[in-house]
Symmetry: D2
Subunit: 423 residues, 4 copies
């Protein structure tokens, strides 16, 4: 039987993770903390490091940056041995409980944070002393709660008669869409019969559960680098080819790509920069952006138009542009059978007062790589939302979760896993 309130040790874990947010491939403290937490549980296996990944991990920062975060992690008390085992940012962990002949079920939770500066006022983590220690970074998407749910579900299954195998994946680098694909390529989930991935919140209140999300937006990230020619801005402006003007023209026109009647699309020039000094005509500028589409076809439409914009903007200012089309994630859908089980279990969980069979995400998730992999190997998959009252939107400085919903999430997911064991 699961307790009614989130128990104290999980609350402490969640707040500790919240206080140490780390971006993609830099989750050294987070991974070490999870490993430490699970240390005395009777797990069959707990894997970390390179073996989790079956293909190249994209977007790994340079060694200087990695070292800075390793240092920060150990300064904050992370176990140096675990940190060392994570090598050049091979963060995350896979916890396994093997019981016997029952089905293999996987739960995927993600653990990375965002480059957002956390609010200092009108914000519970600030008021109660667990605001980010890593200034400029923040758990503004609830992955601290996700990791905590992962640990809580392991506890609950250890306590249960579940007869099969449970794999809980603590996945890094979701925000950069970089973590799931190499994990999928590792084959570690190829034997999974049922995969559940989760998210907290998404505008659903505490007490509401969405049994299975469809309508993921396919997404592709890119970096465009504009190159022109620098010159003294006062003496010979005519000798320059201004990469910042090219970038600005591209930004304005990327957002102006025509909407598509076939469904939702998105464009964002999320990070930009250029130039070196106020009296030098800028030689270089960049856009780190992303495109999304309700389907892969819609994503391709936006992609094609974005190519035109980027090259046209460069030409306009006599510059060139190199575009790296980087990480992407496909669309996916939740299986009806699995969805039905989650919905049925949720109906009996204390504190759940609203169950939606399905919903659109209106966003992207690299969990779709894992869902597709499992589905391609004959398994089923569902992406479940555990509602939480969040005072402000995801990816904003005042995002926070209602910790009660962590307990609900554990109950729903552990219940669904047990039910799958009896099927």
């Amino acid at each position: 039987m699961h307790e009614r309130d989130l128990n104290e040790s999980l609350r402490t874990l969640r707040r500790d993770l919240h206080q140490h947010p780390e971006p993609a491939w830099r989750e050294f403290y987070t991974t070490a903390r999870i490993v430490e937490e699970l240390h005395d549980r009777p797990l069959t296996d707990l894997r970390v490091g390179d073996e989790l990944f079956g293909s190249e991990r994209a977007g790994v920062p340079d060694e200087g940056e990695l070292e800075r975060w390793r240092q920060r992690a150990t300064d904050a008390g992370a176990d140096p041995d675990v940190v060392e085992r994570l090598g050049d940012g091979a963060t995350g962990a896979l916890a396994v409980i093997e019981r016997g002949p029952g089905p293999t079920v996987a739960l995927r939770v993600d653990i990375d944070a965002l480059p957002i500066r956390e609010a200092e006022t009108d914000h519970r983590p600030a008021a109660e002393g667990f605001r980010s220690n890593n200034e400029g970074h923040m758990h503004a998407c609830g992955h601290d709660a996700h990791a905590t749910i992962g640990v809580g579900v392991l506890d609950a299954i250890l306590d249960s008669d579940f007869p099969g195998t449970l794999k809980v994946l603590f996945q890094p680098a979701e925000e950069t869409i970089a973590g799931a694909e190499p994990v999928a390529e590792s084959g570690l989930l190829d034997d999974v019969d049922h995969l559940i991935a989760i998210h907290i919140g998404l505008d659903h209140p505490t007490g509401e559960v969405v049994a299975g999300i469809d309508g993921f937006l396919a997404v592709r990230q890119f970096t465009a680098r504009f190159t022109g020619e620098s010159t003294h801005a006062g003496r010979h402006p005519e000798d320059g080819y201004n990469a910042v003007q090219a970038m600005a023209t591209a930004v304005s026109n990327l957002y102006a790509i025509p909407r598509h009647s076939g469904g939702a699309t998105r464009v964002n020039a999320g990070r930009v920069g250029g130039g070196t000094a106020s009296n030098v005509v800028p030689e270089a500028a960049f856009i780190e952006g992303e495109l999304r589409g309700e389907t892969t076809e819609l994503l391709e439409y936006v992609h094609e138009r974005a190519e035109q914009v980027l090259h046209g903007a460069a030409t306009t200012h006599g510059c060139t542009v190199d575009v790296d089309w980087e990480e992407w994630a496909p669309s996916a859908r939740s299986d009806d059978d699995l969805r039905a089980i989650v919905a049925a279990v949720a109906a009996d969980v204390d504190g759940v007062d609203s169950i939606l069979e399905r919903d659109d995400l209106g966003a992207s998730e690299d969990a779709t790589f894992l869902m597709q992999r499992v589905q391609d190997h004959g398994g089923t998959a569902a992406y479940v939302v555990i509602g939480t009252d969040h005072p402000d939107g995801h990816h904003t400085p005042r995002f926070d979760v209602d910790e009660e919903s962590i307990r609900i999430g554990i109950d729903v997911l552990a219940g669904a896993i047990e039910r799958l064991g009896t099927a």
Copy 2:
């Protein structure tokens, strides 16, 4: 009598300075190296530190940044005592030779470098081993040569019968237009009868001397900070107010400010940036830019139009903008009498084959603050150009000087100072 080639110790000095370029208020190594070089000369006085500045120094970086450059300087061999005397970036030096009742003459040379990455190929400093050690910074405007000329002129006057007082100002922070104004405010040059400021190159070849520049562009720098609202770029783009779009709109339209029939104007958005991650609608963005005008009135015209653009662009995207109107420098003109003396002396200098009485700068210089100060106190001033063959333009990665021109510069300036002593 001065030697015909640049002597070996000055060449070594110039190349050492070239190898250690430092931006505004971070000229720790440079200042220490100059102090060390002058250490055994029989100077009357050699001042460094806060006493050089009579008003607030603008644009001083934060302590973390200062400390990084201090460290770098001492790592490269700078005298830690000198570095310490420079406090929080009070760099530069004033060397004084006092002989007697003759006139007081001042020579101003600037010593700071630029945030430009120096070329690695087809570039003599790279080929001959004195390319920048401070990756991403470069002496791309010849201030290494200026400092060397300052030292050479001190030597020459020490060797001469000049009967008055010579003050050589090694000025920091010219590129950010921040150094000259607080020096002017110190009053240290209020007793100067004749001020000569210099620049090397400016598209004049080795052997050409411009006796006095007019036509400085007045200049004003600014930083515009746009603030919007962040949101998840996929889930709720409608909740965001995109500061990068506002910035891009401003960039495009700043350059499009109407030309003025009254004379030259310039606009540059020299450094820009914004946003945090590709999936977050950017909440903040900035432009570090500058405006110039052939006269102060023209500068005011561009300033007024730029205000409209910056606020209009912010409004367009539901953002706000704060604009810091930062450093500026006025226009100025060289005095005819002083110009005539420089021209007369230059005619007799070995290696000079072309003398221009005057020329336009087509750029800006905070030396104009010093020139105005001296002129306001009854003195005369001239801004002299010592031609040098430079393989590529100022403020570009392959800028370099012909070291022969350093020797010419020393001869012309020392000659002019001696002549002023006999007048």
Copy 3:
């Protein structure tokens, strides 16, 4: 029983209307031709002129323009008496058959054309000699077919035992969203029990029928007029405030209004202009545009953002802007009961091979004003699509209809009206 092929006189009518396309409030020839066609039918009533409209008609052109089109109409053979009765552009007609105590059913067809130049090649109307005589205008949305269906349905009901009242509204000015609202305000449809509005095509092929459209986009049109100050572009560019630059900035940024996660939005700067001569800085410029939203709330969102863009763009260039927020149309939905009857009847119509219960329009229609009016007075309404093979998209120079679908439309609609009479 209705004939299998479109009869010859209706084909002739359709092609004649196609050859004389007239834009909003200028449908003089079209109205006169319909009146002439119906002249010898035993109608109870045939109304034209001011009495059709219960509130001000928006967007009526000036008298010069009206007179030009009146002249063109009578030159093409329109009855001058009818043309005169249409006054200052009070075009359109209401045909009434009153039989007895049965229900009152209304059919709404629209009759206006678009300012598009019709293709001359690869286009059946060109090949078969009924290409537009009004160069620069074209029936590129099938309203010629709509009007023909209206006449055909009158014929079929005259031939039938339908026991109630039928009102066929030949509505002007649909493309400018200006015609339906004043007709609704007239009260002429307040006694209607069932209203059917129709459209042909919309990417549905010949043989397909959509029994009722939901998902109209709410729409609002606007005209923005930018005012700056003119000046000689060569002599004193600085004295100007350039309205064309303001307009261009607005256009770029209107299309870049953030997408909304709540549903589809649209922006279009459909007609723009500005300036007078190449050597004058433009004092005036305009945008005629439109905004759409899947709901009224979404429309309001785009509206609010567009206000910011228009005013911000004006400020950016020292201009002012006046915005007329013009015609608009709400969203609406088809009633299920009426939809079911249309679907049931269509199933028996010769040539119909696919029936969709519902579909999204993905566009706007001022028929929604009429649907809401009837629904508000206790009646039901449906918007029916009669599929047609169209070689190119609506609002393009090669749009055309398959005339077979006109016959199908008449059969489906007359059938549904008869069925309503027996209910």
Copy 4:
């Protein structure tokens, strides 16, 4: 002896011309009025029509437009015989007085007006009843005064002992830079020893004369036509390629072409337009613009950059662009000898109180084609400015001239011609 005030008949002529402003190649009334005015003068020759032009006249409007202006001219009282002789817009006239063996002197005055709507208030022509009858067109650059000066000079020379040949050219189509080149090509001025072209005003007050202008801006006009693909803006925005977006991007970036340190440049997108209806994505758009440079090289610089902008902007939106590089005019300079004579004569003219030897125009003039032609054939040329108090700038709705300056102009020019006859 010339009279002190402008005589009544010339004032009447000027005001009549002012009231009938006509744009390039449509100066039917203007030409006819000048011919009528000169009818009873004892001229040697008065030529009109095709023989004035030696090469194709650019920018002649279509016959419909020509006929409209012919009609307007005859309605206003122009002699139909003269209008007929002007054919398809071969407007303008050449008046000749041949006396004997003295030098051949030419005076060039231009006669066309601008597409500007004349002010109705605070404007003397409106107050005194000679505001433009051709609504939307206006003599906003003083060519009505120029033509009047041409007539007045003919009178003065007829009254004088001038012993040579005088040719007064009433040139059409100056504002479109289209008139002078084909006249130059006719060879009619190849025998000219001295050519004087004039302009009134240009910010010089009544009583000031500029003996010779240098510093004409070279100019080139262009028309850029963008072509995309239209689509219904609501249903399928993704199918369109938006020519108005391409045009707007081009406008914003044309004005943002980098300034040139070598001298003044100008850019103007003086007239733009695009699209057909608010609900159609625009398929076509255009820019009628012009570029200027202080030298031909500067013009070429702007031209090259503008090409990049136009093509880049088209690419950005998936459109194509065709650019017609149209009329242009070179730079030119006034000859010193001729300038000296004008200055000397002006010094003795009643009402002249300030004489400038030279000035920059800061604008363009197709008179440079005639000046070059005469200079190439061994003659001399000068471009003279007759100051006039003008209440508002050239090319603005409240531009007006001080009629006293017309008298001064006649005295200065007739005096200079007489002086040339005695040389």
